[in-house]
């Protein structure tokens, strides 16, 4: 679901974002078309006295709308990791940075934590603070992200891995 890419600014920056391009106006147009047909049919039956079809149609259209909105909104998720000699800066947001964390590079570690079920999450920790990254990635892709971040952030991750 995501691409991790070196920024044009150089090798000291990584951008993690979903790798699909959503055409939201197109999605809205198609949703409106589907909703109009579904609700018109249900309204027609309701007008003939068969009203129980209407709530089912309404629920279904709401579920479809919510699913489209949620999945489209996720496509805007962007995470930018900037690395300098001493610092690791993590920015998260949609369209613009909305949250920002700054860790000392020497103390930053990349941890893969199991979640309930069979999933994992990738967390960058430093001195008691933790930030999850790549949460919009498919579970399997998070392992790859963790490996990449460990080798990128510095010798500490590699050393830690070697310790085990």
């Amino acid at each position: 679901m995501a691409v991790t890419e070196a920024s044009q600014q150089g090798d000291d920056c990584r951008v993690i974002r979903p790798d699909f391009a959503v055409d939201w106006p197109q999605t809205v147009r198609i949703f409106v078309g589907m909703a109009t047909v579904t609700l018109s049919v249900a309204a027609g039956f309701a007008a003939m006295g068969y009203w129980p079809i209407l709530p089912f149609a309404g629920l279904e259209v709401m579920a479809l709308g919510a699913a489209l909105y949620a999945s489209a909104r996720r496509s805007l998720d962007t995470q930018v990791l900037r690395l300098s000699a001493d610092w690791l800066l993590i920015e998260k947001g949609r369209r613009r940075p909305e949250q920002r964390w700054q860790f000392q590079r020497a103390w930053a570690e990349v941890v893969v934590e199991p979640t309930s079920g069979s999933g994992v999450r990738v967390v960058i920790r430093s001195r008691g603070e933790a930030v999850e990254v790549g949460e919009f990635l498919a579970p399997e892709a998070r392992w790859g992200l963790a490996r990449e971040l460990r080798s990128w952030i510095g010798p500490m991750g590699s050393a830690l891995a070697a310790d085990r």
């Binding site: 699909f20 959503v22 198609i30 047909v37 496509s75 199991p114 498919a138 085990r164």
Partner: protein, 529 residues
């Protein structure tokens, strides 16, 4: 300070890991596999019911089962095959292939995907369990017409509940397909560059969204008529049982296309591969699919010509139904034009695809015959109708699913299947299918009613032939099971592009497809593929 460094290969180790993988999986490939395996199981369960039906009809008189159980088998065979086998198989194929075909790493809503699968076995088992309840299972036909369906025993609420759950599962699957196709295509994969299988599934999902509330409302009204004193379909209380037929078929006819449009998509993938030519008329295929979907909303009453309706209504539904032959003809023409002067080879998927085109067209012809209102008065509720919809659904939908399995099995398992066994499976299937269903045209034209366990002696010969074909067809499908199991366990390694002429993103990833694909966005270059 330590870091977790478990490798992904250890993620699913052990029994707990196995359960975690298959119970809680959110991976589209795993869920696709679960759907397909469940569908295969239901195919054999529904097939076993068909064997019982054909055993009873082997000779006139009552030999194998009592008439009431026979009626249950007729009803359950339809429900199991439609809701348990064919629809889940297409959802399984969509789960496996749609993300791969559009360059998405997974379905848009993976957790909902897990739910939509696990509702399916629960609801299917509830449906099957009704046979063991006091009063037996549903026996009034899959159409559930009142007042007959309201005379069911204890099975009634379980039947309604199971259909509701199956419907919820289908709706969740449809929502997921729509969200995935609209919001998760790789950059450059515009709508008119999508593979036809994805297009047909998008339109199928649209049909599901439009008609499932009608079914849900209809069966809920049956439930309230039975237990809560409403009279939606009871003439005694001012309701109208015929209006249930309208409600049911407003759902039921698009449902037929829900089961055939993805099949058209599969054919549009397979035929160009083995003809080694691009699909002829890609845009017209898309518009033809959309036209069929539109027309499916305005033809429902051709199932009800004999229920009584004004002449103008009969004329409208007759002509509207005949119109469907036009976009369907466009499709058949395009498939034939794709094959024309192609460098054709006939591996098993292509055999099933070509067999599908020919036999589905026979079903289409008998469909046009049935669309003629005055003629339908003669054909209605006879074995001619049974022959028609089995030609459409078995040689149309089921053959396409089998073709798709043979086509994508190397991608799923990483192994090539046994081609000789596959071809034997095809030839036995196609021969026995015709022995099974073609005589039913004669039986229907001679006046044999459908849904009867006993019949007049004049129908004995063709029924015996049909039953022999049925047994042969049933046994032939064991070869399919054998091929799948052998291919899962091993065999010749499949290359990433398992078929020489195959185009499309799914053939760019290794075989078997890794658990996670398209970590980086693919490049989309060619229209249509």
């Amino acid at each position: 300070m330590t870091a977790t460094t478990e490798h992904e290969s250890e993620e699913y180790s052990g029994l707990r890991g196995f359960a975690a993988r298959w119970l809680f999986t959110t991976n589209h490939k795993d869920i696709g596999t679960l759907y397909l395996l469940w569908s295969l199981l239901m195919f054999f369960v529904g097939g076993a019911m068909a064997m019982l039906i054909r055993a009873e009809l082997f000779q006139p008189g009552m030999q194998v089962v009592d008439p009431y159980f026979y009626n249950q088998m007729i009803t359950m065979h339809a429900l199991v095959m439609i809701f348990g086998a064919v629809m889940p198989a297409f959802v399984g194929l969509a789960n496996w292939m749609v993300p791969l075909m559009i360059g998405a790493p997974d379905m848009a809503l993976p957790r909902m995907n897990n739910w939509s699968f696990w509702l399916l076995p629960f609801a299917s088992l509830m449906l099957l369990s009704t046979v063991f309840l006091p009063g037996g299972g549903p026996s009034g036909g899959w159409t559930l017409y009142p007042p007959l369906s309201l005379q069911m025993g204890d099975a009634f609420p379980f039947l309604i509940f199971s259909i509701h759950i199956l419907g919820i599962s289908s709706i969740m699957g449809a929502i997921n397909v729509i969200a995935t196709v609209l919001n998760m295509r790789a950059p450059g994969m515009s709508l008119m560059r999508m593979p036809l299988f994805v297009w047909t599934w998008l339109i199928t999902a649209y049909l599901l969204i439009a008609v499932m509330p009608v079914l849900a409302g209809g069966i809920t009204m049956l439930l309230t008529d039975q237990y809560f004193g409403t009279t939606f379909f009871s003439a005694a209380g001012g309701g109208d049982p015929v209006l249930f037929q309208h409600i049911f078929w407003f759902f039921g006819h698009p449902e037929v296309y829900i089961m055939i449009l993805p099949a058209f998509g599969i054919l549009s993938e397979i035929i160009p591969t083995f003809a080694r030519k691009p699909l002829f008329g890609y845009s017209s295929m898309v518009y033809a699919t959309a036209s069929i979907a539109f027309l499916s909303f305005i033809v429902w009453a051709h199932h009800m010509f004999t229920a009584g309706m004004p002449l103008a209504g009969e004329l409208f539904f007759m002509y509207a139904t005949m119109l469907i032959a036009v976009p369907t003809g466009v499709k058949v023409f395009n498939w034939v034009a794709t094959m024309w002067r192609g460098a054709m080879t006939f591996e098993t998927p292509m055999l099933f695809a070509v067999g599908n085109v020919i036999l589905f067209t026979i079903g289409g012809f008998s469909g046009v015959m049935l669309a003629i209102a005055p003629a339908d008065f003669q054909y209605h509720d006879t074995y001619f109708v049974v022959a028609h919809f089995h030609y459409v659904l078995v040689s149309g939908a089921v053959f396409s699913i089998i073709a798709a399995v043979y086509y994508w099995l190397p991608k799923w398992t990483g192994h090539m299947y046994n081609e000789s066994v596959g071809k034997t499976h095809f030839w036995l299937s196609v021969i026995f299918l015709n022995v099974l269903f073609f005589p039913q045209h004669f039986l229907g034209l001679a006046g044999m009613n459908r849904r009867i366990p006993d019949y007049a002696v004049q129908f004995a010969d063709w029924n015996m032939v049909s039953s022999l074909g049925g047994f042969g067809f049933g046994v032939s499908q064991l070869l399919f099971l054998y091929v799948i199991i052998r291919c899962m366990r091993g065999g010749k390694r499949a290359e990433a592009r398992a078929w020489e002429g195959a185009k499309g993103l799914e053939w760019e990833v290794p075989s078997p497809a890794p658990h996670h694909t398209f970590d980086t966005p693919p490049r989309i270059e060619t229209a249509g593929h």
